[in-house]
Amino acid sequence: MQFWIIQGLNSLSLGGLLFLLSSGFSLIFGLMRLANLTHGAFFMLGTYFGATALRSFTGLNIWVTALGAGIAVAALGGLFERLVLTRLKTNPLGQVLVTLGMAFIISDACLALWGGDSIPVPTPSNLQAPTRIFGFVFPTYRLVLVGCAIAAAIALYFLIERTRLGAMIRAGVDDRQMARAVGIPVSNLFTIVFCLGAGIAGAGGVLGGPILSAYPGLDGDMLPLALIVVILGGIGSLLGAFVGSFIIGFIYTFGTALFPELAYIILFLPMIFVIAFRPQGLFGRAGA
């Protein structure tokens, strides 16, 4: 019983992390029609920033670190968007290729700066003691992480559905040209959304650090999971990213625990199913 509950919680916390990664990916895709292959690298960069900060300054608050790393990664993303991606507005394939090139550059730079060994990230000391609920023992940090992902989901929901900025983003997603015609600064929105997506990924990387630790190849491990999540949930849909993240979180965690060698194949199955019967994804709109 304890096994199932612990694995269930692990699934939820992985799902939460995947949401932090894939929500940004999905937002960027929805607005910019851009498959941002740098997203895994942004996440990894966040993890490395977090690892360095938290190991150098004991007692540094992980939330502050996540915020700082998120801003740093968002700034980097913004620069990349302004300097490179805007030049390729009419060339969507070129955009994907430069995000791929950027992913190579970042991951190789991380390897050069931090070396090939994995760097563990300390769990915040006030969250190290396990929590007991109904006689079951839970690692507190993972519980907090799930809460954090849910909070992020709610915040994003309000941002998109309830604010002026969100209304402009939705208008841009629905019809970019009409949005421009009525005076919405779509190019600025692109930068904002790209920064936002990169920032969430960077912050998520810090928060994922204590579970995953920072290692070369983390980007390559996370990016396909994010891709599968958004293919499953529907590209551009926040709700789809949320549901997809937890589905993949469960499948991957239980797959790894029960059939370690086949976990990757098991990951395939929901994706194939969805693509076969609902190519636009669970919550995606047809024609997206």
């Binding site: 895709f29 029609r33 851009l34 498959a35 292959l37 490179v84 030049r87 390729l88 060339n91 969507p92 394939l93 070129g94 994907v96 290729l97 430069v98 791929l100 090139g101 950027m102 992913a103 190579f104 550059i105 991951s107 190789d108 730079a109 390897l111 050069a112 390559g220 491990d221 990016l223 396909p224 891709l227 599968i228 958004v230 293919i231 590209i235 370690p260 060698e261 976990a263 990757y264 194949i265 990951l267 395939f268 994706m271 194939i272 693509i275 076969a276 190519p279």
Partner: protein, 311 residues
């Protein structure tokens, strides 16, 4: 003019081992393998408008099957090659069913996800694939009793296969089927209205490209006598895609030139710098920003403008 140039090229390729050293012969063999691989990817990218970021799946899986069949199951090279190519083509047929549910960026993401899953499998299923250590101790085949262990004989073997592959792919794209493929790339709806089945045309091309990707994988594993999960990685797919785009996608000669350039760059650069992936990323940025149509079309434009100037 072009005929003379082609004849000179063919002769110099054929007699290369007589005047080049072993290092250059080996480099040329690798270039031939990379060229077949890039040409097969170009069928998708250039002629089909399907940009795949998972083409290394076919190279890697063919190589792994051949390696496993010859070492673990003690199969002969001939049979192992047939099993390997058949298996890879079947996989392409299956992957095509999945990936071609989408087009454009969706297609790209699905091919990337599929190939990453295979890469993960090669790493994690270590009792089959030997994980990060890769599979060592492989041998080269002896077609018709000719050993391929010295560089020159392997080069000629690769050259024969490459010329055949080039011809087969050239016939494919210049056939009437190739024309419908280009039609589907440019105007899928009109082609559908004319009674063609765009999906089927794309799928057949995908399988055909997977087949030639498998052939290049077989040569790859014969050449290196070693296979490692990196052959399945995104880097490997991206190198080929860079070759195709740098050379000029949708041309026959472009991918050959591009793949050779990427290979040379990789070989020379790795002698001086440790960071190949970073260089690859920078070259990607450079090519996309500066020469989006590729080197071959760019050069051709240059040549025509020079001819126009001399007239």
């Amino acid at each position: 003019m072009t005929r003379i140039a082609l004849a000179v090229l063919a002769v110099s390729l054929a007699i290369l081992p007589f005047f080049a050293g072993d290092f250059y012969i080996n480099l040329a063999s690798q270039a031939l393998i990379a060229a077949i691989f890039a040409l097969s990817l170009n069928l998708l990218v250039g002629y089909g408008g399907m940009t795949s970021l998972g083409h290394a799946s076919f190279l890697g899986v063919a190589a792994y099957i051949s390696a496993l069949m010859t070492t673990r199951y003690g199969m002969g090279h001939g049979l192992a090659a047939i099993v390997s190519i058949a298996g890879t083509t079947l996989m392409a047929a299956f992957f095509g069913l999945i990936a071609l549910r989408a087009t454009g960026l969706g297609f790209l993401m699905i091919t990337l996800a599929l190939s990453q899953v295979l890469w993960g499998l090669a790493y994690r299923m270590s009792d089959v694939t030997n994980g990060d250590n890769g599979i060592t101790g492989l041998t080269r085949p002896m077609p018709f009793g000719v050993p391929l262990d010295n560089p020159a004989s392997f080069y000629w073997f690769a050259l024969i296969v490459a010329v055949f592959a080039f011809a087969m792919m050239a016939i494919f794209v210049s056939s009437s089927f190739g024309s419908t493929l280009k039609g589907v790339r440019d105007q899928p709806r009109r082609m559908a209205a004319l009674g063609f089945n765009p999906w089927m045309i794309r799928w057949i091309t995908f399988v055909y490209a997977g087949f030639w990707g498998g052939v290049s994988g077989l040569l790859y594993v014969y050449y290196h006598k070693y296979i490692h999960p990196t052959s399945l990685s995104t880097t490997s797919s991206a190198e080929a895609l860079l070759g195709v785009i740098a050379g000029g996608s949708g041309t026959l000669g472009g991918p050959v030139v591009g793949a050779t350039l990427v290979l040379l760059l990789k070989n020379y650069a790795s002698a001086y710098v440790e960071r190949w992936n970073m260089l690859l990323g920078l070259v990607f940025l450079f090519i996309v920003l500066v020469m989006p149509t590729g080197i071959t079309p760019g050069l051709r434009k240059l040549v025509t403008s020079m001819r126009g100037g001399s007239r």
